[in-house]
């Protein structure tokens, strides 16, 4: 009996002191292997009397079980230690930067374009487009600006070189020719907005020879100035994401509308930043009017039956106002720093449900 206790103590000590899995395996073989001490004991049971077996059987088996358990426990312990050691050796400097990935941006003009479309789409305005190089007839004459009309002087038109067929065309000075194209091709009711690039021979601190306009056109049998006012109010509220705006109309003149109006929005510029719906300043935001009956007729629409309004403003200008961009010319310089500062993330998609801006 004492032999067994001493043997058990000796084996368990050896297990406890095993330094690694290999050491532990040596212990296991010496105790439980074919020729191991415990295996020998178990084998000796075969030569014992039933009485001896009765006593030694449970003792030897119990010894075997305890040693097996101790080895298993030690094995787990050694494995955990080995894993810990490996993990410790695999440590990285997690403050190192990630692999380089460029962060792309969407230009403010595109973003504001999407914002404007989101708003007007909700009111059933389709998006109409036309070419940058435009017929003089569509850019001017059909819009009630005949060749010698003084209003042509206001337009500072770019002319494209005379073509081989003798024709000469202009870079559109506004997106109104898109209205002409729409009316020539579509019967009322019409609700469109026409955003796009426009060109004027003009370059200074507040003018760029290329800029972006959006225009709206509604032609049906009932739409009047009150609807125009409502649409603009709703638009600016939605666009500037404020609960209230105040607009002021001034009579103006555009050959393609009659009556013609320009709109100012009440704003507050006192804090260095512009706020809408409050304050004592007025800022011009749109030109507009009821479509001149002559224009309707020029486009094959019965002006006795149909009427409607048109309005327009600058997309670049909207972007400047909403996002605090100071200089229109900077829009087209492609300065990487500017593009990153004023650009929008790819997934910043303006929606009415999620909000136009963050």
């Amino acid at each position: 009996m004492t032999d067994i206790s001493a043997l058990e103590r000796q084996i368990l000590d050896t297990i406890a002191s095993a330094a690694d899995e290999a050491g532990l395996e040596t212990v296991r073989v010496s105790a439980l292997g074919k020729k191991g001490a415990i295996s020998d004991l178990l084998k000796s049971l075969g030569g014992m009397s039933p009485d001896e077996k009765k006593v030694n059987g449970p003792a030897f088996n119990g010894l075997r079980d305890r040693v097996q358990k101790a080895i298993a426990a030690k094995k787990l312990e050694l494995e955990a230690a080995a894993l810990n050691a490996r993990l410790a050796s695999e440590r990285v400097d997690i403050t190192l930067p990630v692999r380089p990935e460029a962060a792309g941006t969407v230009h403010p003009v595109s973003q504001v374009f999407d914002e404007v479309v989101a708003i007007f789409a909700d009111l059933g305005f389709a998006v109409a487009e036309g070419p940058d190089v435009e017929f003089d007839d569509y850019n001017f004459t059909k819009l009630n600006i005949p060749p010698d009309h003084p209003a042509r002087q206001m337009h500072d038109t770019f002319y494209v070189a005379k073509q081989a067929d003798g024709s000469q065309h202009v870079l559109r000075t506004h997106t109104s020719p898109v209205q002409v194209r729409t009316m020539l091709n579509q019967k009322p009711p019409i609700r469109i907005i026409s955003p796009g690039r426009t060109y004027r021979v003009d370059s200074d601190a507040t003018h760029s020879p290329m800029f972006h306009q959006y225009e709206g056109l509604v032609v049906d049998e009932v739409t009047h100035l009150g609807h125009l006012k409502w649409v603009l109010e709703e638009f600016y509220k939605a666009f500037f994401e404020v609960t209230h705006v105040e607009l002021r109309a001034r009579p103006s003149y555009f050959p393609f509308t009659e009556p013609s109006l320009e709109w100012d929005i009440r704003c507050d510029r006192s804090g260095g930043q512009i706020k809408f719906g409050t304050g004592n300043d007025w800022l011009e935001v749109a030109g507009s009017g009821m479509v001149n009956p002559r224009v309707l007729e020029n486009c094959g629409i019965d002006s006795g039956k149909y009427q409607g309004f048109a309005f327009g403003g600058g997309i670049d200008r909207l972007a400047m106002l909403k996002y605090g961009i100071p200089d229109i010319r900077s829009f087209f310089e492609s300065d990487l720093r500017w593009l990153k500062a004023y650009g929008f993330a790819a997934l910043d998609i303006p929606t009415l449900d999620g909000g136009l801006s963050r």
């Binding site: 941006t105 021979v201 020879p209």
Partner: protein
């Protein structure tokens, strides 16, 4: 147009202050640009009297003055002005007054030990003149303690309004007053023009000499003899100066005054310099005229001139001639008051690139009924200022017809303007504006006045009514929603553009928007630069060509950014590429560039921009746009601005969808860029509409198997050929074929390369046995061998 308030008050009886007038002008469509009110700047300054001016006890050049500023006690002031002396009246600033020149508030100060309780001001300190040699000395009759503005004559604010091109009737102070009176801001009091009786028959006759429609249908004139030309009266000179005109002499000033006062351009000829009689006619082609601006103009047969018996002496309605203009020695004049066709004047002015006050008015339409009254008014003023004796008036032609009637249903105001206004009020507004209104059943018969040539229909009358009634009264009216829940509005091409834009931004590209016009030399590098795509009047010489692609502007932008120290760039633009100078000759491109040797990183070697980067960009963009995998074949060729061996074209049949690749080194060099540069041009308009719909999908329950093969093929064999052949070997089983290794070098014979593919087999009805897999493998090897001559690598 500028005018001082006092001039307006010659025509308008009103108590309204300048701000009220300015606000009303803007509200009725005569937009006020500025109100220059010098008086407002000096409103806190008062008139003071210098009682005594002694030497400052501690300074030789300073005066110690006692000044009466209208209070109980005189005020002690230290003043350094050399002209400070007892007995003069001065402009005085009390402590607390803001001094215009410095913007600072004046404080009680101590100067060389003596207290000074105010300041006597120079013209410069008040910003009313450059004079800073001494203090202002006011006239003796200035009232002590009263505002200095009055004594300084600064009570007359100048209003500057900008006109819309339709309001020719408002290009005069009279016209502005007329509109203000109609808007209820006072009463029009313009004196009626009285005729001046002629003393003798005009020695000059007038003829209108036109074959067709006369460019000058009505012409009145008269001779005034015995005039003495010289400076015009001071009040006239002051007025002209106030509106930015230079007084010349009485005979010229009279025309400028009447032009701005009444909107009636006139011309005064020196009659002694005219040979024979006067006629209006079209110029002869090539006829030359030295105009009053000192330039010689070459005229053509569409331009109207006023001529004498020998030659053209004035460009009708635009500018007089130098040779027959009035001078200090003029004693006999011929005064012209004519009416020119607006279109003719506009065309002439445009062709000659000549703007003048006369043209500005004639092309907007001047009052045809004021031709003779204008002449009478000029006669009266010339006689007053220069003396002389007038002839009878001679007239040629007739007042051009201007009377017309517009049928106007009063309900139109509400139908178009959204504003409910009583019929009586409508009639009243129109009448105040000079329209005559007659009842005609349910409608009105409205006749515009002679000065409103811009009115030609009911819509114009609506505008007149609502602008005078007040646009602020138009109530907002909600529009109907065509559908309770909004339907999609974007076209497929608009959606594609949006998707491609955001896909490229998601791939790290910064979107740029660049000018559509670029230097011709740049355009030429990209297949453009021909004559048909040039601008006739570019904003700058180096922006003269319509771009054939957005690439050149992106490359120029990249070069600018590199100059700022940003070497690695990804830029893209979605915009027009012009294939011709015709409307419709443009396509929408999504073009992008990747520039640079790659960002250095601790994780891996820098990766220079290459053809496979932009190939991935193009494929991603296309697949995003189409919503389905891009299966169009890629051809190893691209336009000349790409690297001939590192570029490709993606086309569906003959329709090119995209070109991409590394840019040709000579193009990179032309833009002074540090490369490499890889670029792509995606023709968004060429992308077919997406037809893919989601279909039902049932994954196979059987085990998929992957097998690798390495082939040795001729180096000229493209990877695509191998993949295609392998795929075709057993279409029902082979799901994908992917290239995972390309090798040339040791172990592979010269002129050959090794291409390794992995093939994924996906059975649909049973698990594959080893024998079946082996059989497919054999088929693949044979198919590749047949298509490319490749052999399995040992």
């Amino acid at each position: 147009m500028k005018f001082p308030l006092s001039w307006l008050k010659d025509h308008l009886e009103t108590d309204a202050d300048v701000q009220t007038i300015a606000d009303k002008l803007t509200a009725i469509g005569l937009e006020v640009e500025t109100v220059e009110d010098a008086g407002a700047r000096v409103k806190d300054f008062v008139v003071a009297y210098v009682i005594s001016a002694d030497k400052h006890p501690n300074a030789d050049r300073l005066h110690l003055c006692s000044v009466d500023v209208g209070g109980k006690e005189p005020v002690q002031v230290v003043c350094g002005a050399p002209n400070a002396r007892a007995g003069i009246k001065v402009v005085f600033a009390r402590p607390g007054t803001v001094i215009p020149v410095s913007g600072e508030t004046l404080k009680i100060g101590t100067i060389r030990g003596v207290e000074s309780r105010g300041m006597m001001c120079s013209g410069r300190e008040l910003l009313i003149s450059d004079d800073h040699d001494g203090i202002i000395e006011l006239p003796d009759d200035a009232v002590v303690g009263a505002p200095a503005a009055t004594a300084l004559g600064l009570t007359d604010p100048v209003i500057d309004i900008s006109f819309t091109p339709n309001r020719g009737d408002c290009t005069s102070v009279w016209g502005v007053a007329r509109d203000l009176a109609a808007a209820g801001l006072g009463k029009l009091k313009t004196p009626k023009v009285e005729p001046v009786a002629g003393k003798f028959p005009s020695p000059k006759t007038i003829t209108l000499n036109f074959a067709g429609k006369p460019a000058c249908p009505f012409f009145a004139g008269r001779v005034i003899k015995g005039v003495k030309n010289g400076p015009s009266p001071v009040w006239v000179q002051d007025r002209l100066k106030a509106i930015g005109l230079r007084p010349i002499n009485a005979l010229v000033d009279v025309t400028n005054l009447i032009s701005h006062d009444r909107g009636r351009p006139l011309h005064v000829f020196d009659a002694d310099k005219l040979s024979g009689n006067v006629q209006a006619r079209l110029a002869h082609d090539g006829e030359k005229l030295l105009a009053l601006d000192g330039k010689t103009y070459t005229l053509d047969s569409e331009m109207c001139v006023i001529a004498d018996d020998t030659a053209a002496q004035s460009i009708g309605g635009v500018m007089g001639g130098e040779d027959t203009g009035s001078s200090e020695t003029t004693t006999t004049v011929f005064v012209e008051s004519a009416w020119f066709e607006p279109v003719s004047v506009a065309a002439t002015g445009r062709k000659l690139q000549l703007m003048s006050d006369a043209r500005y008015r004639f092309e907007r339409g001047v009052d045809p009924e004021f031709v003779v009254p204008g002449l009478e008014l000029a006669t009266k003023l010339i006689l007053e200022w220069c003396g002389g004796e007038p002839s009878d008036i001679v007239v040629a032609g007739e007042v051009p017809a201007w009377k017309r009637e517009i049928a106007f249903a009063p309900g139109t105001v509400e139908r178009i303007g959204g504003l409910k206004i009583e019929k009586e009020r409508i009639v009243e507004i129109l009448t105040h504006l000079g329209f005559s209104v007659a009842e005609n059943g349910t409608a009105l018969k409205v006749s515009p006045p002679s000065w409103r040539s811009d009115i030609d229909g009911a819509a114009d009358l609506v505008e007149e009514v609502v602008r005078i009634y007040g646009l602020e009264h138009v109530p907002s009216a909600p529009m109907t929603r065509p559908n309770a829940i909004a339907r999609p509005v974007l076209t497929s091409s608009q959606k594609r553009r949006r998707l491609v834009r955001r896909a490229l931004a998601a791939r790290g590209f910064n979107e740029a928007v660049t000018y559509s016009f670029i230097p011709r030399a740049h355009a030429a590098l990209f297949g453009g630069g021909d004559d048909a795509r040039q601008l006739e009047n570019p904003i700058a010489a180096e922006m003269d060509a319509l771009r054939p692609s957005p690439l050149p502007s992106l490359l120029a932008a990249a070069a600018r950014n590199q100059a700022r120290g940003f070497t690695d760039l990804q830029l893209f633009e979605i915009g027009a590429a012009f294939q011709s100078g015709l409307p419709g000759g443009q396509q929408t491109f999504a073009a992008g560039i990747r520039v640079g040797a790659g960002v250095r990183s601790w994780t891996k070697a820098a990766h220079p921009a290459d053809a496979f980067d932009v190939k991935a960009d193009v494929l991603t963009a296309l697949e995003t746009a189409m919503g389905s995998p891009m299966t169009a074949p890629i051809k190893a060729k691209a336009p000349a601005w790409y690297h001939p061996g590192r570029s490709g074209t993606l086309a569906l049949g003959p329709k090119v969808l995209a070109v991409f690749g590394e840019l040709h080194p000579s193009v990179v060099a032309a833009f002074d860029l540090t490369g490499p540069v890889a670029a792509f041009e995606l023709i968004l308009d060429a992308i077919p509409d997406s037809k893919t719909k989601k279909t039902s999908f049932s994954p196979s329950p059987y085990q998929a198997v992957e097998r690798d093969f390495a082939f040795v093929v001729n180096a000229s064999v493209s990877a695509d050929e191998v993949v295609k052949a392998a795929k075709a070997a057993e279409r029902a089983l082979i799901e994908t074929v992917a290239i995972f290794d390309v090798y040339e070098g040791k172990g592979v014979p010269d002129g050959k390369k090794s291409l390794a593919i992995t093939v994924r087999l996906q059975p649909k009805d049973k698990t594959l046995t080893d024998t079946e897999i082996e059989a497919v493998g054999q088929k693949i090897v044979m198919a590749v061998a047949k298509a490319t001559g490749g052999t399995l690598r040992a």
